[in-house]
């Protein structure tokens, strides 16, 4: 797993990456009540706001971690947003994407670095 400073995790699956938010991020957000996913097939640029996630406390975004194309969405989260709190680093992935430059992952934090990052 790789991690971004925006508290997303990325897991490589073949030529795609699966993207979700970290347990730490889910805890900070609190109870998630609303998830809006991007369009399947959308071309996105790094730092585009592509997912809207709202908790009882506030609205926030998930940014595209890299340039690429959205290939699959986890529609279950739209119906059951609370899954984000139940299993953020497992079942509650948000989307899969094909990224243009897989080597960009090398610059991202690994788990040890992320743990240090969140202190």
């Amino acid at each position: 797993m790789k991690f971004t400073e925006e508290h997303e995790w990325l897991r490589v699956e073949g030529d795609e990456v699966v993207v979700g938010i970290t347990t730490h991020a889910a805890e900070q957000l609190g109870d998630v009540v609303f998830v809006e996913l991007p369009d399947e097939g959308a071309t996105v640029s790094k730092d585009d706001e592509i997912v809207v996630i709202e908790s009882v406390k506030a609205a926030s975004d998930i940014l595209a971690p890299l340039d690429g194309e959205i290939t699959e969405l986890n529609e279950v989260l739209v119906e059951e947003p609370s899954k984000v709190n139940e299993d953020p680093e497992g079942e509650a992935w948000f989307f899969k994407m094909k990224i243009e430059d897989m080597s960009a992952l090398d610059d991202m934090m690994d788990e040890a670095a992320y743990k240090k990052y969140i202190g």
Binding site: G30, D31, V33, F34, V52, E54, S55, V56, A59
Partner: protein
């Protein structure tokens, strides 16, 4: 957070694992480890304890209690003189333009009046009352008392275990009872839509009383996060958001809280700031009105969301002033102001969220049935 004040229960909050945030000049618990959603549902299902010690507790006293009552009537459009001893009423300070300077609870305690006002407004409220009422009436902001709220369907059982007299109180009754050996002032009221009590307790006994109530298995501590979602579902206003110096009581749908004796034709009609506007709006209506709003989709519409009459109309016809997810409703809920012609229940409006217009239906308030013991 060094400039912030702390309530007498600060150490208790920290020991309970609360997340503390700045609110109205105080470090307050926004949530405890179980989180906002569970705290909210706990309060609706059983009972929750809130620290509201940041709010202002004020005593008005005069040699003749009638002088204090008539004095307060010069500042608020409520019937103070006609309020029976041991009873409490909701009210609001108005300004010369007919706007709302603060909202409050006031109680007739026999030889004095007891007021609870908002934390962020308390210094202004006290200054306003002193300017208008002294020297005939003394205005005392109490610094030596904490304020707790015990709310929820189990609140009576929990508090009655400490003092049986509280079970006999009806909604908006006020009485003095001893808790943990301290003189407490208990009102059957609150800010959640549930049955419950607000308890004014001397600072020295505050932690002991709070711990005694928390020791009951039906009670969990509740933070400001769930306090906000509970009051929103109950259709209750948050000062500075749903009501402020620019909203009139009639716009805010508070006509019910202006008793007939203060309205045109009443024995003590008018005589409060902004009476001309407020009384004429009672007769003629206001151009906009506070309403409940139910977004039809899942997306919460939060404060500041503009409301339109159609998917393409240019100018907004209203604005959301409070909004979020209602844990007991299981859906987003909101309130806001809309032009009078769009204020009818079931009118469909469109809230603009992230560039998209999404349908939202005008709804009656509250969103959940009140649990008051009347």
């Amino acid at each position: 957070m060094s400039d912030l004040e702390r309530t007498p229960l600060y150490n208790l909050h920290v020991s309970l694992g609360a997340k503390m945030v700045p609110f109205a000049g105080y470090e307050m618990p926004v949530q405890y480890p179980i989180g906002v959603m569970k705290e909210h549902l706990q309060c609706r299902a059983a009972a929750g304890l809130f620290d509201v010690s940041h709010m202002g507790q004020v005593i008005l006293r005069a040699d003749d209690p009638e002088v204090a009552k008539r004095g307060l009537e010069r500042l608020i459009p409520q019937d103070v003189a006609g309020l029976a001893e041991g009873r409490q009423r909701y009210g609001f300070f108005t300004n010369d333009e007919g706007g709302i300077e603060d909202d409050l609870m006031f109680a007739n305690r026999g030889d004095h009046l007891f007021l609870v006002v908002n934390a962020a407004c308390k210094q202004n409220d006290v200054a306003r009352m002193r300017a208008a009422l002294e020297p005939e009436v003394t205005v005392k902001l109490l610094e030596n008392r904490a304020l707790l709220a015990l709310q929820g369907p189990e609140a009576e059982k929990v508090l009655a275990a400490h003092h049986p007299d509280v079970a006999a109180l009806r909604f908006m009754d006020v009485a003095t009872v001893a808790l943990a050996g301290a003189e407490c002032w208990v009102s059957r009221s609150g800010y959640t839509g549930e049955d419950g009590y607000e308890i004014s307790v001397p600072v020295a006994a505050a932690t002991e009383v709070a711990q005694a109530l928390l020791s009951h298995p039906a009670v969990e501590p509740i933070g400001l996060g769930a306090r906000d979602s509970l009051r929103l579902e109950a259709g209750l206003c948050l000062y500075g958001h749903d009501i402020d110096t620019g909203t009139s009581p009639v716009e805010a749908a508070f006509t019910w809280a202006i008793q007939k004796v203060r309205r045109t034709g009443g024995d003590r009609a008018g005589g409060f700031p902004g009476a001309d506007r407020i009384l004429s709006e009672i007769t003629d209506g206001a151009p906009r009105r506070r309403v409940g709003l139910r977004p039809e989709g899942r997306a919460p519409m939060r404060e500041g969301t503009p409301l339109f009459s159609s998917e393409s109309s240019a100018a907004p016809v209203g604005l959301v002033t409070s909004g979020g997810f209602g844990p007991s409703v299981g859906a987003p809920v909101a309130m806001g102001y809309v032009a009078a012609e769009f204020a009818g229940v079931d009118t469909v409006l469109y809230g603009e969220l992230r560039g998209k217009r999404l349908p939202v239906r005008v709804a009656s308030l509250p969103f959940v049935a009140a649990g008051f013991k009347r």
